[in-house]
């Protein structure tokens, strides 16, 4: 009787969109249900930002660097979201037994990851905003946006490229077990360093900075600093328009890369029986 009951089933694009909404939903709702997460997600970066601000004060750095640290600290929220809630998410899903269900269900893994990305982006943006406001309030950071439209475009493209990168790396994590935790852990400070979260990326040699630009936050952060602080362009790496173009290229490359890698890694993981193994 139950089997005979008619249930409307979405297919094609409708199913794709439904999956995205379905996976984004817990990310957004989780933010409201577990408010202590929000508190700690904001508190920890604010502590780090404060520590770096006081270092700059100890060495009598110009005020613009304080603003750079606050903005960099806010952007760490996105990088941490990519590492722990996108890339290594597949590992957690495997540990909790959801991964096999994702693969079995008649939906696209790409849609699941997109849902994760959109939900994560929404939740993390709020954290980043609060961190920025806390930094402005605590340390009196002066922000003067020279072009709001460009700033918005840079931010959005940075996020598309960044979450595209997150989706790409998530596919690699399909194959990983407990080493996933260590890889994510290892990708924090080295990326903070390479991407110039707490100092202008221009401080590096041109080719080092150019190589680090493969991480979208490097150029995104540099461009946002140039657009948000009066002395920003003088400390900028390259012209904002070039950075915008590179970010657009990275967005396309990472999204297509994610689609291709996800399919390849899924087949590989199925062939090698890695989707359900658990080596903690």
């Amino acid at each position: 009787m139950v089997l005979k009951a008619k249930v409307h089933k979405n297919t094609g694009l409708n199913l794709f969109v439904q999956t995205i909404i379905g996976r984004a939903y817990p990310r957004v709702v989780g933010l409201l249900r577990e408010r202590t997460w929000f508190f700690f997600d904001v508190l920890l970066p604010v502590i780090s930002v404060s520590a770096y601000v006081f270092i700059y004060r100890a060495i009598q750095a110009p005020d613009i660097y304080i603003g750079f640290v606050v903005m960099g600290g806010a952007m760490t929220a996105f990088w941490l979201n990519i590492l722990w809630a996108m890339s290594s998410q597949m590992y957690w899903e495997k540990e909790t037994g959801n991964l096999a269900l994702y693969i079995m269900a008649p939906n696209s893994l790409m849609a699941i990851l997109l849902g994760m990305a959109l939900g994560g982006l929404f939740a993390t943006s709020q954290r980043a905003l609060v961190i920025t406001l806390a930094g402005i309030f605590l340390f009196g950071v002066q922000i003067e946006v020279s072009n709001y439209l460009l700033l918005f475009a840079v931010f959005m493209l940075t996020m598309v490229a960044l979450y595209g990168l997150g989706m790409m790396t998530a596919s690699l994590f399909l194959l990983l077990n407990r080493e996933a935790w260590h890889f994510s852990n290892m990708a924090q400070e080295p990326i903070y360093l390479a991407s110039g979260f707490y100092f202008p990326i221009k401080s590096f040699d041109f080719w080092i900075a150019a190589s680090a630009s493969i991480i979208p936050l490097t150029l995104g952060l540099d461009a946002m600093r140039q657009l948000s602080f009066p002395g920003g362009p003088a400390l900028g790496f390259i012209d904002v328009n070039i950075e915008l173009a590179v970010l657009a290229l990275l967005s396309v490359a990472f999204l297509f890369g994610a689609k291709w890698l996800l399919g390849y890694m899924e087949r590989l993981a199925i062939r090698e029986g890695r989707l359900t193994d658990s080596r903690r």
Binding site: F40, A58, Y192, L193, S203
Partner: protein, 297 residues
């Protein structure tokens, strides 16, 4: 009555050699967990990259502003404080993290509880493995600073007895703080991993690890003076780079003997607090059935 019967710790703790056995087994287990997820080469790279990147952030920040003037005493102050702070993160956070790992990730805490071990010493033993990895990171960071960044550490001028004494007391104090935190974690559900990070972060900010306390606003400085880590790091700096440490007036009013006395007092205080807290939290966790709780941390 039932609760009293279900607590085997006092009887076990009196058994000859049980504490040493517990510490040894837990340390070995901790070492295996930390290191055997990959081959030794990758593990070595992993162990080196994180602390060096962390130190390099400070080096670049400093060098951008000062134009690479590494002779200024503030640089070794920042650099060594940051290097030795690694111990705070790994020991304090590490002991409490063991509870989360064993209870939620490996789901073995209940089996550990019924094994012939003394739980607080088991947690301390697990923390010892993290201490070993932390020591490797500290050594690499300090060596890198001396070799490439002109950190003025002259081995012939180091006050070794003071260094080892302060290191021993500091690590013991951190382990006891970690045990206190781990005990509290026994009673917490979600967000347990934030607790250790929040405490370590607060200590990082207020203990003068990476900048002299004078830089803090005047109303925040008393918090720094109340932090035990402040005194420990000052002693370590005095032992390693005495002449540089003298240029900062923050704790200039204290002699080495006074600082050691403060550290000994704090270590004893935290030892008492740790065991009382553990006893209470352990009892509560058993009573409420929290030992095998899984919350998908």
């Amino acid at each position: 009555m039932q609760a009293a019967q279900s607590v085997p710790t006092p009887a076990l703790a009196g058994e000859k050699g049980i504490i040493q056995r517990t510490l040894k087994s837990a340390a070995w287990l901790g070492w295996q967990i930390e290191s055997n997820w990959t081959d030794p080469l990758i593990f070595l790279i992993y162990s080196v990259i994180k602390p060096l990147a962390s130190a390099s952030i400070l080096v670049v920040m400093y060098s951008v502003i000062t134009g690479g003037n590494f002779e200024n005493p503030v640089f070794p102050y920042i650099y060594l404080g940051n290097a030795f702070y690694i111990y705070v993160a790994v020991v304090l956070n590490g002991v409490s993290w063991c509870v989360i790992e064993d209870r939620e990730q490996y789901r073995m805490l209940k089996y550990i509880y019924i094994a012939p071990v003394v739980i607080p010493f088991y947690l301390l033993g697990r923390g010892f493995a993290k201490f070993a990895f932390g020591s490797l990171a500290v050594f690499i960071t300090v060596t890198f600073g001396v070799l490439f960044l002109k950190v003025p550490l002259d081995l012939a001028l180091v006050d070794w007895p003071l260094f080892f004494l302060s290191l021993f007391l500091g690590i013991l104090m951190l382990a006891m703080m970690g045990l206190t935190l781990g005990s509290v974690v026994l009673l917490i559900v979600n967000n347990v991993y934030f607790v250790g990070e929040a405490v370590a972060g607060a200590l990082f900010l207020f203990s003068g690890a990476i900048f002299p306390l004078d830089v803090l606003p005047a109303w925040l400085r008393p918090i720094g003076y109340a932090m035990p880590i402040t005194y420990w790091l000052e002693l370590v700096r005095r032992a390693l780079i005495g002449s540089v440490a003298e240029t900062f007036q923050t704790l200039a009013g204290f002699s080495n003997g006074q600082l050691i006395a403060i550290l000994v007092g704090l270590t004893l205080l935290f030892t008492v607090i740790a065991f009382i807290t553990f006893r209470y939290c352990d009892h509560q966790a058993r009573e409420k059935g929290y030992i095998d709780r899984v919350t998908n941390f």
